[in-house]
Amino acid sequence: MPTPQLATFTLGGVHPPGHKDLSCTVPIEALPLPELLTIPLLQHFGAPADPVVAAKQVVAEGDLLGAAPKGLGAPVHAPVAGTVKRVTTVPHPVLGKVRGVLLEPDPAAAPRAYAPLDWESRTPQELLARIREAGVVGMGGAGFPTHVKLSPPPDLTVDTLLINGVECESYVTADHRVMLERSADLVAGVRMLLRVLGLERKGRAVIGIENNKPDAIEAVGRAIAADPAVARDGLDMSVLPLAVKYPQGSEKQLIEAATGRRVPAGALPAHVGCVVQNVGTAVAVYEACGLGRNLTHRVVTLTGRGVARPANLLCPVGTPLSVLVEHVGGLSDAAVKVVQGGPMMGFALADLSYTVTKQSNGFLFLTREETDLSDFGPCIRCGRCLAACPMGLMPNEISIYMERERFEGTDRFGLWDCFECGSCAFVCPAKRPLVQFIRVAKLKLRQKG
């Protein structure tokens, strides 16, 4: 039987080694309660939450720790019952330091029981308000507040809800495990999202999954068939297997792969009738609306050859990295790099003092064999970065400009369209840090105003 051509995006793209077999078969495991949680009040795109607790205050599971700021942001809640030790500054992988809450969990407190709620009688507005209150943010890595993405400008018509189960980054398997183990909750979350967007009758939901996860494609397909409400309400919900290519999990690339539409530069997915949500976010929406549970836990993949026992851990936000490492049996001496997120777009961490946030889908512990630490050479104009760039940009020219400290003019090579997927630097035979050059160029141009 000829295999049908699987959908994917058209421009550029690369095939980094997957390394997902290290952890993709390891079931999600709940982490034992840590002794201390370090909870940053910035776990999302936007402004930090404003602390509403003080030292020595006793909080219950799910209580508000930080209220949503004015403007773009999301609230932060207590993952477990316990006592606030301090409101202080805590390390943040991107911003250095942010405000945070040190929470001492109470081991005697019983976990809160969540009863299913009658969400089907709620209006879209009520569900949207619940999603905002629960602090749900995009769990694919960017952490964009979900209620904002679910409120597209009223003059734009949305007809497609895309659920991102691509997980195109190497190593990371958190979404994969969630799709396998929580497929029914995922389908329920997608139904809620369809209601919020007003797409139950005249829209569709497409769950895009790369075909290196055939078990997830099957599990989610079965869950859709098994949910009686899907047929009852006549929902158009389907799984779309996609050809494996990085960076398919990027919003614009996924939209093109699934619908053939291209989001204009600087525009929103809603401009082409789409809203995209990650599978983990859909499950968080289910927990928020279906159980009344605030977003305080997430699944984190701990993997790489530098860690003794790769694992997918369900842990409270604020869990220090050192606790996770200890739980999986410590680090090997060969680990030379710690990365939060995937290997293509993740942040290298300087030490283990960082903590799990709503955004952290994985922590990688890479050995010297897995990550290239070599020095970079001059651009030899081989053009590989041009062929790899999914946005049709010229990273080679930007890097040559930046080496000569000429950041004016770099925007004509497409600087502002770059979302820093790293495909160019991945293929560069001279090992040039192209993403770094691009980031510095953006910074310099912004400073200039």
Binding site: A265, K337, M344, L366, I380, L386, G422, P429, K431
Partner: protein
């Protein structure tokens, strides 16, 4: 407090296995069979020629990098490849001082005075050949060796290349020397003919070029466009009358395959966009045939590619990758319908004034 065990750098943290070194050494390996063939038909002296050329390039690169206070990178194979290519474009009988001076010129002047790897304007091996052709014109045009002459006679037998005969004495004279049409073409294809060290065997160079395409080091665009254009022009203009030329003859003689697969595809001096590559290849093929038919030299590959090197920045600049999507159109100004009627006469007036 950062942990000294952990390296911190900007993403991505995964890198492809291809390096500058792996590319340069693969190209050198793809070229190697032709050198073995040349040693067999022209004699072992071509190995000495290649050794001097490579040695000169490597030493000069190291000296220049040290002298300019840069990191010495001769292990990346780039100088070795230039040395090899330089030996390939020399007649096999030239004195050993030629590859030496050629290497000095290629590395010191053409490459490192222009900024080193990635910054050179011209293909270093070809510009060194042009330099030698000017500095040592007699040796560069007469030091040919007839195939297998070294097996019998003690001295190299001077001979003429097929293209030289073709240009100055016509096709009939050439076939008289090299045998009947089919037999001559077969010998040219296999590489049993006089010529530069590395240009003789169409077969081996084609195989080497296909290896480079298979290993994704080069793409098909430049070789296909260059060879296709040359064949087309040879067919149209190569005969007694129009459209009676022999396209194959012009492909298997001279340095067409060496040029198309190994010289014109040099990353630094050729474009990187597919459409730009096609134009570049067409230009190189057309200029080669122009020189062969109308120029003063029997062979034109070297100068054709050097001329295209000059045009490379222009071509590269003219072709930009296609962007993923254009920005949204700017919202139209509110009174859109009314002013549209008026500006038309204004515009024509301005236009008219401009013409005056």
């Amino acid at each position: 407090m950062s942990d000294p065990r952990f390296h911190v750098s900007v993403s991505p943290h995964l890198r492809d296995t291809a390096t500058i070194g792996s590319i340069m050494w693969t190209v050198s390996a793809a070229l190697a069979p032709q050198l073995v063939l040349a040693a067999w038909i022209f004699g072992p002296r071509v190995l000495l020629l290649a050794a001097v050329s490579v040695g000169s390039c490597v030493l000069c690169e190291a000296a220049m990098q040290r002298g300019l206070g840069k990191k010495v990178t001769v292990r990346d194979g780039s100088a070795v490849l230039t040395g090899l290519l330089l030996a390939y474009v020399l007649p096999p009988g030239v004195p050993l001082t030629l590859p030496f001076w050629g290497g000095v010129f290629a590395m010191c002047i053409a490459k490192h005075l222009f900024g080193g790897l990635g910054a050179n304007f011209f293909n270093p091996a070809l510009i060194a050949r042009a330099f030698l052709a000017v500095g040592f014109p007699v040796a560069m045009t007469t030091a040919w060796i007839a195939p297998f002459a070294w097996h019998g006679a003690a001295d190299a037998v001077s001979t003429a290349t097929p293209l030289y005969l073709l240009k100055h004495y016509g096709a009939a004279a050439m076939f008289q020397q090299y045998g009947a049409h089919a037999e001559a073409l077969r010998h040219f294809f296999l590489g049993i003919r006089p010529g530069c060290v590395g240009e003789t065997s169409t077969l081996l160079l084609l195989l080497g070029g296909l290896v480079l395409i298979w290993r994704r080091i080069i793409t098909w665009h430049i070789p296909a466009a260059m060879l296709g254009t040359a064949a087309l022009l040879a067919w149209v203009f190569g005969g007694e009358t129009l459209f009676t030329g022999d396209p194959l003859l012009h492909l298997v003689t001279g340095g067409m395959f060496l040029g198309a697969f190994f010289m014109a595809t040099d990353y630094v001096t050729s474009p990187s966009q597919p459409r730009a590559k096609l134009l570049y290849g067409v230009g190189a093929g057309a200029l080669t045939m122009l020189i062969r038919f109308k120029g003063g030299y029997p062979e034109g590959v070297c100068y054709a590619i050097l001329l295209m090197n000059c045009l490379n920045p222009v071509i590269e600049n003219a072709f930009r990758p296609k962007r993923f999507a254009a920005p949204l159109p700017k919202p139209e100004p509110k009174p859109a319908a009314k002013p549209e009627a008026k500006p038309a006469p204004d515009a024509s007036q301005k236009d008219g004034e401009g013409r005056k």
